[in-house]
């Protein structure tokens, strides 16, 4: 790709999963493998039903609009996008077109790719409703309306990416924001993220700021995972480059394609002449809604720290190493886990290594999310506290945690069962020391009167043995020395 450069734009759809109800109906907004359990007559477009806007979905959308630095409209409108498809019960989707303005226009997002900071311009962000989901079998298709009416945010970028790597870095930053701002779980496995990808190529020598130099836009619809987004982009760049090289590029019309994950190729869907006319018009059942300064202030003040801000806090306030901080904030639930351990009353610096090594290693091995991990922040905090108070040593803690992951047992139980807890009880240790000293008078004499200081280590060893290794070595040594003194 030195001869050509790619102009890549994204339309990222992300479900808002963090509202109790759907965007226009009071049905529960939840994901379930069980079909048709979160439904209301509105979601199925029974005659006479009317949409009622969920203000919390509007607030979440406004949150994203603010984070992306978009201009907000004075009034919120919704529009109908009319088309027939079996997953669209009303025969139209309630969405927002760019006229009148959607929840946000003309913003930007800084993101990092290969250690460089890049900026992607946001054309607009709009709030809409998701469609039902379809499952196709050999001779029938079934419709699940759980998803119908789930709030959906669509972010449309300018063609500001040049490589699949940049596009993925952008998408990952977006996902992190969705999670940190408590807008969405942004879980691709639950179908919460879907992308449309635009790719065109142009001669590297030409000025990309002039749209006249741009190539022919190819849109690839419904790409459902980040890895597919990367494959789609790489495939399209290669395909379009091939067309250029063979002199066929100029014949290629503007078109819509889809990703075929079986053949790992994009397939032609329709050309420009067959583009659907969605016959947009303002949804008459939803009166225009004033976005007041008060509402914007309320939303602004409710935006929590995002990944980057948490990272900076970890470095400057907690004194963590930048690389550790970066690992911790990559996923919000890991960062939350870390903060929850801190809340148990521990120093951040004493926690970080446990998480970046054993905890993350274990959840990766188990292929689960940290939220599902049975070693909860409070259990980990207990284990670390035992080290801090000298009850067990680091190696014992490590072994107990590894065994816990192996067996699924609570590490605290393992520590108890194995008697790993060290004895730091003074009176018990004094008795033990006295007993051992009584049994070894010549060694006591060697130490006290012949200056053979290494005998102290021998005596400590005998005491440890007598305690079956449970005596805390440091405490025991202190007591031993004072008891030896008494026998001088």
């Amino acid at each position: 790709m030195t001869k050509y450069k790619a102009m890549i734009g994204l339309e990222m759809h992300c479900e808002i999963s963090k509202t109790n109800t759907k965007v226009f109906s009071p049905a529960q907004n939840s994901y379930s493998k069980k079909s048709n359990i979160f439904i209301n007559p509105i979601d199925m477009a029974f005659p006479g039903t009317l949409p009622v806007v969920n203000i919390n979905a509007v607030k979440k959308a406004l949150t994203m609009s603010i984070i992306l630095g978009c201009q907000k409209p004075e009034y919120l409108y919704f529009e109908r996008k009319n088309y027939y498809y079996p997953d669209l019960p009303k025969g139209y989707q309630i969405t927002q077109e760019t006229k009148p303005a959607p929840i946000g226009i003309y913003g930007s997002l800084k993101y990092e790719c290969d250690g460089k900071e890049l900026t992607a311009r946001i054309n607009n962000i709009h709030l809409e409703e998701d469609s039902a989901s379809l499952d196709h079998f050999a001779d029938v298709s079934v419709i699940d309306y759980n998803r119908a009416g789930v709030p959906l945010l669509e972010v449309v970028t300018e063609p500001d990416f040049r490589t699949s790597k940049e596009a993925i870095a952008f998408l990952e930053t977006m996902r992190s924001i969705y999670q940190y701002a408590d807008i969405s779980e942004a879980d691709a496995k639950k179908g919460q993220i879907r992308c449309d990808v635009n790719v065109s190529i142009m001669d590297s020598t030409l000025d990309e700021k002039n749209p006249q130099n741009w190539g022919t836009k190819v849109e690839i619809k419904n790409v459902n995972s980040f890895s597919d987004v990367a494959s789609v982009i790489d495939y399209e760049i290669a395909r379009q480059t091939e067309l250029k090289e063979t002199g066929q590029y100029d014949e290629m019309e503007q078109q819509t394609r889809r990703w075929d994950s079986v053949s790992n190729t994009t397939k032609f869907m329709r050309g420009k002449v067959d583009a659907i006319d969605y016959k947009y018009f303002i949804e008459p059942n939803i009166p225009k809604f004033k976005i007041s300064d008060k509402l914007i202030d309320e939303v602004k003040s409710s935006i929590p720290l995002l990944a980057n801000e948490r990272k900076n806090k970890y470095i400057s306030e907690y004194g963590l190493k930048p690389e550790d901080a970066k690992i911790l904030v990559k996923e919000k639930n890991i960062s939350d886990y870390f903060e929850n351990v801190i809340k148990e009353g521990l120093e951040p610096s004493k926690i970080v290594n446990w998480i970046t090594t054993i905890i993350l290693g274990s959840i990766n091995k188990l292929e689960i999310s940290i939220d599902e991990f049975f070693i909860t922040p409070s259990i980990l905090a207990e284990v670390i506290k035992m080290i801090e108070s000298g009850k067990i040593n680091k190696n014992q803690a490590k072994n107990a945690l590894y065994e816990a992951v192996e067996t699924g047992k609570n590490p605290l139980e393992i520590i108890k069962e194995k008697g790993l807890e060290q004895i730091s009880d003074d009176s018990f240790l004094i008795d033990l020391v006295t007993k051992v000293l009584d049994e070894h008078p010549s060694e006591v004499d060697d130490y006290n009167h012949k200056g053979l200081s290494n005998k102290a280590n021998f005596l400590l060893g005998q005491i440890m043995k007598a305690s079956q290794g449970k005596a805390n070595p440091a405490t025991t040594m202190e007591i031993l020395k004072s008891e030896l003194d008494k026998r001088k």
């Binding site: 477009a45 029974f46 949409p51 009622v52 027939y84 025969g91 008459p284 059942n285």
Partner: protein, 485 residues
């Protein structure tokens, strides 16, 4: 015979034990069944209607009719369309629910033009509704069955919906009262939509007082309809007899016979009757002035309406695919299934409107037609609002005469005739409160006038209507055939 009485009288009789709710229901059902044979007013008569407890609520125990585009739980609701000919909803329209809470008793689901998209009462899937005064004539529509049954004394009131003039015109042709309150005063939840920005729920009665009582019971903010608003401080019935000091106006371009080339005898008689009515009202001390407005504004009403209502309708009725409800059609794939269902079940008239709507929303036509119509709508509403700044209400004749002959429906009307036929649509464009009351007879057939006021001034509009009504002898009238029962 009781069902020719007004609501208040019926309530007193029920309270005094002169009659029971059960007896009223039985009389109402009997009348419904005989009217069905005669005029075909009902999609379904609810023969298992049960009496309710008589409370202090004026509507308790009293029968009424429901237009069949209002969703009723466990009761067939068809929209008078083959697309929903067996549809039994599992939720009830808010307005019906409110009447149920008053103890009102639904007796029948009444015929309409398919989904309210017609003005004749001849396009419902169960056939034409005949005018109870003269069975060779239409009732007008779309609330044809509701108008017919109230005029024939089946019950004192029936619910209607009004997108262009669907309550107010059939009321005129059936010699009764038709009232559509300000947009959003009554929730539309459960009303099968035709054109959402124009749709209103309202009522057909035989007196202004009854209209006030029924709308008082149905109105109010509904969390299920974002366009509904809080009208708790509006009391229609209590405000009926307040003093009125404002003045009215009528529009010269509509009311002057010289506007029309070759006017029909009926139009001449109708306008003469209207002008006499104006004189009578003036004599009672209400000031009425003639105003003149741009004729182009009046001429634009119908085409503006056709574009907006058809565009919204084509979208509103896209849910009718036969996939989730309605008789699912055969087909090799979902597109054929939808196509077959819609092709087989919609009447040609509706398909025509879908095409107009779709055409005017197409990218290449949208500016000219759809946005053009929106602009025209605003201009028309502004014109009326200008009048309503000076006058309390606009008073105008309804239609170009009495109900038309069924066989004359296809006769072409002149452009000018549109002005008098279609001005009621302005009430829907602006969401204005608008009421039709009888003002006379032409060839033994009732004709009416309409009073339309500014938004939210429903109390005053009904107050004026009650005063005008009291000048004429048509309050609580039922059709002649039933008067001597």
């Amino acid at each position: 015979m009781y069902m020719n009485k007004c609501i208040k009288e019926l309530h007193e009789d029920l309270k005094n034990g002169k009659i029971t709710s059960k007896e009223l229901i039985s009389e109402s059902l009997k009348k419904a069944s005989s009217l069905q044979k005669e005029c075909n007013a009902f999609v379904k008569i609810l023969n298992d209607a049960k009496e309710t407890e008589i409370t202090d609520n004026l509507l308790s125990g009293i029968p009424y009719g429901i237009k069949d585009n209002l969703s009723t739980e466990n009761i067939l609701t068809t929209g008078s369309s083959n697309t929903l000919k067996d549809y039994v909803p599992f939720f009830t329209a808010t307005c019906v629910e409110k009447l149920k809470n008053c103890g009102a008793v639904p007796i029948a689901k009444t015929v309409l033009d398919e989904f309210g998209m017609g003005g004749t009462g001849t396009t419902g899937h169960t056939g034409t509704v005949l005018n109870p005064w003269d069975k060779t004539r239409i009732c007008a529509g779309s609330s044809a069955g509701s108008a017919c049954s109230v005029a024939a004394g089946v019950y004192p009131y029936a619910l209607g919906s009004d997108t262009g003039d669907s309550i107010r015109k059939p009321a005129a042709y059936c010699g009764i009262v038709g009232y559509k309150p300000t947009y959003g005063m009554i929730s539309r939840y459960g009303l099968f939509p035709f054109a959402s920005s124009l749709d209103h729920v309202g009522v057909l009665t035989r007196s202004v007082e009854d209209a006030a009582i029924v709308v008082d019971a149905m109105k109010g903010r509904d969390n299920k309809d974002m366009t509904s608003w809080d009208s708790a401080n509006i009391h229609l019935y209590d405000s009926l007899h307040k003093e009125f000091t404002g003045k009215l106006c009528y529009i010269k371009e509509i009311c002057d016979i010289n506007t029309y080339e070759n006017p029909t005898e009926e139009l001449k008689a109708h306008l003469e009757n209207f002008n006499n009515a104006i004189e009578k009202i003036k004599k009672e001390g209400i000031e009425i002035e003639e105003v003149s407005i741009d004729k182009n504004i009046l001429m634009a009403i119908k085409s503006t309406y056709d574009v907006i209502s058809s565009a919204e309708a084509t979208s509103n009725m896209s849910n009718l695919t036969g996939i989730i409800f309605g008789p699912r059609a055969e087909g090799d794939n979902y597109i054929d299934m939808m196509k077959n269902y819609r092709t087989q079940n919609f009447s040609p008239l509706i398909k025509r409107r879908f095409i107009i709507g779709s055409y005017s929303l197409q990218a290449e036509n949208k500016d000219k037609y759809f946005f053009g119509a929106q602009k025209a709508r605003r201009l028309i509403v502004d014109t009326w609002n200008d009048l309503l700044k000076i006058y309390s209400a606009v008073i105008l004749p309804v239609g170009s005469g009495p109900a038309k002959k069924i066989e004359a429906l296809n006769e072409k009307q002149s452009k000018e005739m549109r002005m008098i036929e279609e001005h009621l649509i302005v009430g829907n464009f602006g969401g204005f409160p608008s009421i039709t009351i009888p003002d006379g007879f032409i060839n033994d057939l009732p004709v009416a006038l309409n009073i339309t006021g500014p938004c939210y001034k429903d109390e005053e509009v009904l107050n004026i209507a009650a005063k005008v009504e009291s000048i004429f002898p048509y309050k609580n009238q039922i059709r002649k055939a039933d008067q001597n029962d």
